[in-house]
Symmetry: C2
DNA sequence: GTCTATACTGTGATAGAC
DNA sequence: GTCTATCACAGTATAGAC
């Protein structure tokens, strides 16, 4: 058995190559745009011949697919870190969730295009890759419900509002904060309409006693 | 001079060919997706050889450019028709503008992608083609100002809200009305926050007398 | 001026030797 | 698993017939 790498070692190495390919794909995407990456450039950055990529991914779209899953998993752990503990005050909580999502999206145009827009012509994520995305959305919906928002229409409007501001920010003021500045105000507007309490839970409890 | 077509005839014919090419491009875009049209398919639909397209357009992006201008011009005349006369009641007016834009966008995915998203990799409209778009936006801003909304931030939020609902409708419920149904409610929410009068101008005038 | 014929470059993808 | 060789197809360019 000496000199024969174990199954684990082989799997590790293989996983390492996949990582290198994906890292190269991300760096290319940020450099030339998500839609403009080429297998040749990725291969060159990794240090192999273009067809060799096919030993690790079935197609270019399979690379996009892995990147898609990766992006949503990254957001999932980012939000887990940033939104725990969730502020007790519903207004503050809803603002915070919106802000975390907004900033994550705006921080990386290529990633946002992949996660939230259908900007790659033939690409659609597989069910596996899509799973984290629906998990995040469902988690957000549950959080909003826990704040007393029962009408699903309110959740849909909340999502649309945040997404709309993100798109405008990236399209019409990239690198700036023209729309980012408006997020709190817009969410507050929504919270007023949806009936999110303006005061803290403690104040709500105190008021209820009267 | 007999048998020699006049300058006008030639220009007309030339313009006719341009129209045929653009029509073919639109029909292809709706069939296979905006980003997936090819010069070969366009040429075949028009009945000429692919390189002949270059007698009429400098490049594929020049075709996109003409389509872009055309789409915004189409919206400009659509909105002129649908929004004249603009309802006197500010709430009704703001709802109507939003609805006209929403329906125009949702009616044609390819057109919306071209007008409002940066979905074509290398394409950016020229200043000429962009002009109708800024005209429409400025016209919308002026309309909103005329309704008493003086803070530009309110206009930005209004635009983001409509755009966000359009994107969600097209991405998550194409052909349906899940988000279309929410437009009135969302705009009303915005109008409340922006201070658009709830009652008619006549009622406002009457109230002011007290 | 316009169209045809042909070719060039770059793309994703495949086959088979090692 | 990686390589070399090659394919099919895209957008693009140009030379030359009409």
């Amino acid at each position: 058995m000496l000199g024969t790498p174990s199954r684990n070692r082989i799997a590790e190495r293989r996983e390492g190559v996949r990582r290198e390919i994906l890292d190269a794909a991300w760096s290319q995407a940020r450099e030339v745009g998500l839609a403009n990456i080429t297998l040749r450039d990725i291969a060159r950055e990794v240090g192999m011949q273009p067809p060799s990529l096919y030993s690790h991914f079935d197609s270019k779209n399979a690379i996009y697919n892995a990147m898609y899953a990766e992006a949503w998993l990254a957001y999932e752990s980012c939000s887990a870190a940033e939104l725990d503990p969730l502020p007790e005050h519903p207004r503050v909580a809803i603002q915070r969730i919106a802000r975390v999502f907004f900033d994550f999206a705006v921080a990386d145009l290529a990633r946002h295009q992949l996660m939230n827009q259908r900007t790659i012509p033939g690409f659609e994520p597989t069910a596996d890759a899509y799973a984290p995305a629906v998990r995040v959305l469902e988690h957000g919906a549950a959080l909003v419900r826990s704040l007393g928002i029962t009408d699903p229409a309110d959740f849909d409007i909340w999502v649309s509002l945040i997404g709309g501001l993100i798109d405008q920010q990236l399209a019409n003021d990239p690198g700036g904060d023209r729309f980012s500045r408006l997020l709190e105000r817009a969410i507050d507007m929504w919270a007023d309409a949806a009936g999110v309490p303006k005061h803290s839970p403690a104040a709500t409890r105190a008021a209820r006693k009267n």
